[in-house]
Symmetry: C2
Subunit: 505 residues, 2 copies
């Protein structure tokens, strides 16, 4: 017991080293997706493989396991919510998971995922699901076996979900979806009767890419993401956020010259993720606690700034003059309320990443239900496309005409099969509950948006969410920040109030 401080110091040293290496991995990935010349890909793959296996080696080092073992009993004596407890808990979790997966299975997963990506790209290009099916079957097999070795006593989807969203089970998620479905499906039907009331043709014009870029930079700065000394924005094919420390956070966006929304809202979305990374305590830069509580928690911040703020009437009252000054021709004769309506138009659509706030969660629910049906033996992978189309018909009243706008639209299943999408919906639901609490703490919160004042909201998120890093599970963090268990009610209140305003319901 008296070795404990020394053991803790050793543990922290090992964590700091692994953390440095995984940050380096992020740097290498960032470069790969932003500036790497195309032919650099081949060598890059080898370099990343070497780095991954090095990190895996350190994480599964038996000496690390012995350290953890020596420290675990002490933790039972410590206050449960102490920082030390959390450190040991998190590293034990990762070490245990990594050691349970045999090296051979690990390599199989890497290969299945990289082959899966190639197969998916090809299948999508040729609009032929059957070109993807063998890779999907292999990925499903690997994902299932991996879940089984990690925890043979749980349902595989629960194991995978617990990895992404510690503490959540499929039953929790099912309950959330069932609440959402009950309200959203009839709401969508009511809106579809009034669909002529909101038009978005203003967003579909030629918008000069260089000006789109400058405008997005202005918006991101206005929200409070530090783009200067502590972060930056670049372009990539798929927008993403990555952090090399709390003082070096990178976001990316993409630009389509014939649409306003993709660049602008990707910037807001990633800036939301970015504020979380910039808001984590700097003292944890080399500590395992210096990360978001979960994928869903991370998503709550991106959705908050992209949707609750970035699609609010108050935000557009403030920001629309900026759009007008950049794009006077495109916005001629339109008021800020027209623009606000356009960016909120509700319309059942086929592509998840282009879906509006009301229909978005149904896209996620469909995917989750299909994953469950496969894992429960009720659906064969080869029958996925037909099942996909049926569910789209049932929930959204539309069906894809080609696999690329249906079953083959997302990259996720090319690298594994299971619980891949749930965090997006959790993020939506969490974001509304957090915002409702912030609003009751700061009554004129929305009013402040009208003058471009977002700092009170950002500070609230920093103090109630970001600063806790990974010390709390997402469920506990929500409870602590909002005083309640996670619930779909704030989200549904938010959606109902907004659509009532938009569509005079």
């Amino acid at each position: 017991m008296q070795d404990c401080p020394a053991d803790l110091a050793k543990l922290r040293e090992r964590i700091a080293e692994m953390r440095d290496l995984s940050r380096i991995q992020s740097i290498v990935h960032w470069d790969m997706h932003t500036y790497m010349p195309s032919r650099g890909a081949e060598a890059r793959k080898e370099q990343l493989a070497t780095l991954s296996s090095l990190i895996h080696e350190k994480l599964t080092d038996p000496a690390l396991g012995r350290l953890i073992q020596r420290l675990e009993p002490l933790m039972n004596n410590a206050r449960e919510d102490s920082e030390e407890t959390a450190v040991v808990r998190e590293v034990a979790r990762e070490h245990q998971r990594a050691t349970r997966i045999p090296g051979r299975l690990m390599q199989e997963a890497t290969r299945a995922s990289s082959d899966g990506l190639q197969a998916w790209l090809r299948a999508r290009g040729e609009e032929d699901f059957h070109l993807f099916l063998p890779a999907l079957e292999r990925n499903y097999d690997v994902s299932r076996r991996t879940a089984e070795v990690i925890n043979p006593d749980s349902h595989p989807l629960d194991v995978m979900l617990d990895r992404r969203e510690p503490g959540f089970t499929c039953a929790d998620v099912q309950e959330i979806f069932s609440d959402l479905k009950e309200t959203l499906v009839p709401l969508i039907a009511r809106i579809s009767d009034k669909s002529g009331q909101v038009k978005d043709s203003i967003l579909h014009q030629i918008y000069d890419p260089a000006r789109q870029w400058d405008l997005s930079m202005e918006a991101v700065r206005a929200l409070g993401f530090d783009l200067d000394s502590r972060g930056r924005q670049d372009r990539s094919v798929h927008p993403f956020t990555t952090a090399f420390s709390t003082d070096d956070v990178r976001i990316t966006t993409r630009i389509r010259d014939d649409q306003f929304a993709p660049c602008f809202f990707a910037s807001l979305h990633e800036a939301g993720h970015g504020t979380y990374e910039q808001g984590l305590p700097a003292r944890w830069n080399r500590c395992i606690l210096g990360s978001a509580a979960s994928g869903g928690m991370h998503e709550s911040q991106s959705r908050l700034w992209e949707n609750i703020v970035g699609r609010s009437k108050e935000f557009w009252q403030f920001f629309y003059p900026r759009v007008r000054s950049y794009f006077p021709e495109q916005t001629a004769g339109a008021q800020y309320t027209d623009f606000w309506k356009a960016v909120n138009r509700v319309q059942p659509s086929l592509i998840r990443v282009e879906a509006d706030e009301v229909t978005y969660n149904l896209h996620i629910m469909i995917r989750f239900e299909l994953e469950q049906a496969v894992y429960d033996g009720k659906l064969e992978l080869r029958d996925l496309p037909a099942a996909w189309n049926e569910k789209f018909e049932e929930y959204l009243g539309i069906q894809p005409e080609a696999p690329s706008e249906g079953i083959l639209q997302d990259i996720h299943w090319s690298g594994g099969f299971g619980a891949s999408f749930v965090s997006y919906t959790l993020g939506n639901v969490i974001s509304a509950q957090l915002f409702e609490t912030a609003e009751s703490a700061i009554p004129d919160l929305r009013e402040r948006f009208r003058t471009g004042n977002f700092s009170a909201l950002l500070t609230w998120m920093q103090e109630n969410v970001h600063t806790y890093g990974k010390t709390l599970s997402p469920g506990d963090l929500v409870r602590q920040a909002t005083g309640r268990d996670l619930s779909t009610r704030p989200y549904l209140r938010y959606i109902k109030s907004k659509t009532a305003d938009l569509y005079d319901l």
Copy 2:
């Protein structure tokens, strides 16, 4: 003996892993100097330290030493110039050097170098050499002790030189400088009598940075550096080249809006380095042989394209119309020969990186003579500034008025003291000898430049220099490529012919 192929495979596997990690180190450095937000520096330092010590651990692994030992005798039986021999020789060299330096000395060197950088920056800012002196003394001490542990039987400067330029001794370098001095000092005196004949005010005007950038990209593409699928150019404070594989080579440049030369010639210089990296055999991407033969050899390629090509009359006949189209006002009334003269103006000056081709080597010689005087106990570090000024008076007839344009102008001595500059002059000398040989193999070589045809020269360099990687020492490589020992004569012929043309000598 029968384990040899297995041992060789194991050795290659270890080399590939170290190589991947050092490429990753380069990626992380590149980002640090191009896109990293300022406050990212602190975490980056830790990440790089972790990575370095990991690479050092692998390089000094006793198991690697045993592998090398088992393979060395075999090498004596193999053909001396076989690839295997070269691999074992190079890795043995690096392993031996790394293991001879005690960990404590290594850490001392790292600290001395990082503190030295801070002290140098401060001293330069305050124009006070004495603020730098303690750091310089510490760096000198560490450099000397490091050389002594690597090889106690050689002069420390010879040990350091051998690391940068395998096979070269201080005696060789002294001979080169003595040849150069004999011709260049009187030549400079003759030119100074006619200094009015060449003006360069055309270069000192406002040149729009965005256009400078585009022009430099055009020039780099024209020379044959692949800027598209296999490389790219970015901006940094100090221009540099780095390679993550033969198919991912990064060059950088800097832009001053009131000068034409810094951006343009930095781009040409780095593109020269870049062609070497792109020209190495791709099969050695993960092999120790996939690097330049030496620093001087690398410099020969940058000097070749920056100076011998990029400051040639033929190049400007081809390229001047492009400059005119980008900068019609700045070039109004000037002919290509005016521009060619301007970029070749000879004028004794204080700053090495701005020096012309004729006086440049004297800058290097001064530094080398000072380093020698210190190591031979004939000069105290505290007396360096006075000695510096005396030598500038003696060789160039001018003296700095402030330390920042004298003794404190270069970053090099802040990270170690010894043989830091010699490669630049070796590069100049080698470049001329290579070019002379290429010219006799391809008689209309210079003529081709007039129409923008540089591919014959690039191909010659690829076939006679790049393709050998590190299999040959720089001396052997020069001998093989040119049929002769390295000599200053081609360089002096080149300088004399050019200055005769410029100044009607």
